[in-house]
């Protein structure tokens, strides 16, 4: 099998990997780059556990050809915390009990970050719409929606 070199920005760092033809971005991030935060849930683009940001927009890594990520800016949950303190989204997920088994959490956080980056003051309906592609089987969605809204309010206060 031939390998193709692919370079992209991974959580702010220039990264180069050799990928198999047909490999998807999820496998390349997990096995090639070693970033285990995106999760395999279905491989069919239905569960959202592998959600990553490509140039700021949420994508399902299991459906993205790795070669299509060349030259793009990839963000994952592993890069969400940039300083000594967790990102407000992470802290409100923790404090609001918005995770139980935690398997859907990285995807939820990425979908939420994409929303808050684009619209800092979302309505509850917008939050629900933003995570409508992410399945959770443990906690129910209410604490997750509450946590995203609380994080949005805190982030607006910080900017103002």
């Amino acid at each position: 099998m031939s390998k193709t070199p692919v370079t992209f920005t991974h959580n702010g760092a220039e990264t180069a990997v050799f990928v198999d033809g047909g490999a998807n971005l999820l496998d390349v991030l997990r096995r090639g780059v070693g970033d285990l935060s995106p999760k395999y849930g279905c491989g069919q683009g239905t569960c959202g556990a592998c959600t990553v940001l490509i140039d700021g927009a949420p994508h399902l890594a299991c459906l993205v050809l790795a070669e299509a990520a060349a030259g793009r800016r990839i963000e994952t949950t592993a890069g969400l915390q940039t300083g000594p303190e967790p990102h407000p989204l992470q802290r409100h997920f923790m404090e609001g009990f918005a995770a139980q088994c935690g398997y859907c959490t990285p995807g939820m956080l990425m979908a939420a970050k994409a929303l808050l980056d684009a619209s800092p003051n979302p309505s509850r309906e917008q939050v629900i719409e933003a995570i409508s592609g992410n399945l959770c089987r443990c906690t129910g969605y209410e604490p997750i929606v509450d946590a995203i809204l609380a994080a949005a309010a805190e982030m607006r206060g910080r900017v103002a």
């Binding site: 609001g96 009990f97 398997y103 859907c104």
Partner: protein
């Protein structure tokens, strides 16, 4: 925004807690890993040289394997090893064999026959997942498709295909002898006879997939100390370890299992299938091997909560008191036992729901069909029958013309009541829950129901264990002549009557470990009297009955066939019934002076039907009536 309301007034004297934790989120100890993506699930352990294992699965519900051709797959690039059923050292197991319950009935890789769609027959180990998939697709299996059965009652009908070779009758054998799990408390037929209303209905619950976000899987690798490490998604780490040790005939001390971080389970990760596969792969190749179900496999072969069918018949007094309730249940175990046998035992202990009913009977069948094997899921054994019971309560309320909430309060367990599995109810709270819920919903309760309490009105006569109806040879429930004779009664007289004092010993029961565990004949099915069996007056009706079981009351779904002993039940009992002959005292104290009878030998069946003999006519207990 909390909508939690504390009702500390309820059961205030029973609790010393402050409820201070409720309604206040607490940080989970593992939450920081979850929100940073650093929690390591089994698939987050990276190994150099990892191999991937995938299974060749049956596309048929039921088929025999004529031949498997792996030549093309073996030649494919990246294929390391084909794993055959003969590679599994001990290729037959049942999950609960670790606690000695049930017979081994399921192969890790089926060597001869498949009994459900998706059953694995072969595995391929390759250097990439893609190579493994392509090799699996290149394996050619020559199937001889067999007739299949997907419905529980069709599966126990005469002539149904035999799903599971270990249980050729398509039913799990309880206590190695019985094709169903039985519960008897009082006399339901007498209760039905005394009732003002009879309410019957059938309920069906479909199988439900747990669908955890993380699919089932395991990674195993040789360690450097002659052990194998196994990272697994299992919910039952030591179960999986023991099962792996058994199937692979390897000392459990050579298995190093690491788990506990589960990406959602809900009961679907207790079946211990992926771990033996992964460890077997590591043993055969000497390299790290991952065996992971994709989502399609999770949905197709991941064991769901099994389907259940319940028939409930209630005898209800005009005022709404339920005086008799009988169940016939069919549990769809799928092709193999897994945990369904246990779920039925558990569910039977739950009957008849949280209600005090003086006459209860139940026959529940664990049935094998050509469906995906069923296993645990949240509250399994309870959830399905609770659905049926609560639907039925509403139906009863409508039939009797009582408010459904009041019907539940009227019949609810109160502290001190006796449950049909002979345990005293305590810490009951259904009445209070109903009262609070009614208030919230704006339902006005009658003053009597609004004043009811779980703390009062229970016990007393309601805590007496009623005499259980037995047939003319002293058996609980229906007789099973002809097709499948049950054990001959040890020491039975020429008329097959039960002499006194043999209670419990004639069926090979273990000796009681403590004096207070000795069986009290007043509490079990046989009615025994000093000096031999004496028919009780109520039996007179039996004698006038035709011997043919067709006399069983109204055909279709009277679940208690035969209905031999027509002794009146306690609660609704016609007061004229002169059955009050005092129960015989336990044998032990009276035998101090009398010569002790020789200890009867434990019963050993000469030809136990359950060991694989297809019984003619199969079950006669469909719908509770004997088969014609």
């Amino acid at each position: 925004m909390s909508s939690i309301e504390f009702r500390k007034d309820l059961f205030a004297d029973e609790r010393d807690d402050t409820l201070s934790e409720i309604g206040h989120p607490r940080l989970r100890q593992d939450i920081l890993g979850h929100v940073t993506g650093r929690t390591r699930y089994y698939d987050d352990h990276l190994f150099d040289g990892l191999l991937h294992m995938r299974c060749v699965r049956s596309p048929h519900h039921h088929a025999r394997i004529r031949h498997i051709d792996t030549a093309a797959a073996e030649r494919m690039e990246g294929v390391v090893r084909i794993v055959w059923p003969t590679d599994v050292p001990r290729n037959l197991n049942t999950l609960l064999s670790l606690i000695g319950f049930g017979r081994d009935d399921e192969a890790l890789l089926s060597p001869t026959k498949v009994a459900y769609r998706g059953e694995p027959v072969l595995a391929v180990i390759a250097v990439t997942e893609r190579a493994a998939r392509e090799a699996v697709a290149a394996v050619r299996v020559d199937w001889e498709v067999l007739p299949h059965v997907l419905d529980v009652e069709e599966a126990i009908a005469p002539g149904a295909p035999s799903v599971n070779e270990t249980y050729p009758n398509n039913t799990f054998d309880y206590h190695e002898r019985y094709d169903h799990q039985k519960l008897r408390f009082g006399d339901v037929e007498a209760g039905f006879a005394a009732a003002d209303h009879i309410v019957e209905a059938e309920y069906q619950m479909s199988p439900i997939e747990q669908a955890p976000m993380e699919t089932c899987g395991a990674i195993a690798a040789p360690e450097t100390n002659d052990r194998y490490v196994c990272h697994t998604a299992t919910q039952a780490l030591f179960f999986s370890l023991g099962t792996t040790a058994k199937l692979l005939e390897i000392a459990s001390s050579r298995l190093h299992f690491i788990g506990g971080t589960v990406g959602g389970g809900f009961g679907g990760k207790v079946d211990s299938i992926t771990e033996p596969m992964a460890v077997l792969g590591a043993m055969l190749t000497g390299r790290p091997v991952k065996f992971m179900w994709d989502r399609e496999e999770e949905m197709q072969v991941g064991a769901p909560r099994g389907g259940e069918r319940w028939r409930i018949k209630d005898g209800v007094a005009a005022d709404g008191r339920i005086i008799a309730r009988s169940f016939t249940g069919f549990f769809d175990a799928g092709a193999y036992t897994r945990l369904s046998s246990y779920a039925i035992v558990k569910g039977t202990g739950h009957l008849p729901g949280p209600y005090t009913i003086p006459n209860v009977a139940s026959n529940v069948f664990c049935v094998f069909t050509n469906r995906t094997p069923a296993t645990a899921m949240r509250g399994f054994g309870i959830t399905g029958v609770d659905f049926a019971i609560e639907c039925h309560m509403d139906r009863v309320a409508e039939a009797v013309g009582v408010d459904p909430v009041e019907l539940r309060i009227l019949n609810a367990y109160r502290d001190g009541d006796m449950k049909p599995h002979r345990r005293v109810a305590k810490n009951c709270a259904l009445i209070e829950c109903c009262q609070v819920a009614a208030a919230k919903a704006g339902i006005r309760l009658s003053p009597e129901m609004a004043a009811a309490s779980s703390l009062t009105g229970g016990g007393g006569a309601r805590a007496e264990i009623p005499e259980t109806a037995t047939d003319e040879v002293g058996r609980i429930g229906e007789r099973r002549q002809r097709a499948m004779p049950t054990a001959p009664l040890e020491g039975a007289t020429a008329k097959r009557r039960v002499p006194a004092g043999t209670q419990g010993s004639s069926v090979g029961a273990a000796a009681p470990q403590r004096a207070d565990m000795a069986m009290d004949p007043r509490r079990v099915g046989h009615r025994v009297e000093d000096g031999g069996y004496q028919p009780v007056p109520g039996r007179a009706r039996d004698a006038s009955r035709p011997a043919a079981p067709a006399a069983a009351p109204p055909a279709a779904s009277a679940p208690m066939p035969g209905a031999n002993a027509a002794r009146p039940g306690r609660d609704p009992g016609p007061p004229a019934a002169p059955t009050a002959a005092p129960p015989a005292p336990p044998a032990a104290p009276s035998s101090s002076s009398a010569p002790r009878p020789p200890e009867p030998k434990p019963y050993e069946p000469e030809q136990p039907f359950q060991k694989g003999i297809k019984r003619p006519g199969v079950s006669r207990f469909l719908s509770g009536t004997r088969r014609r």
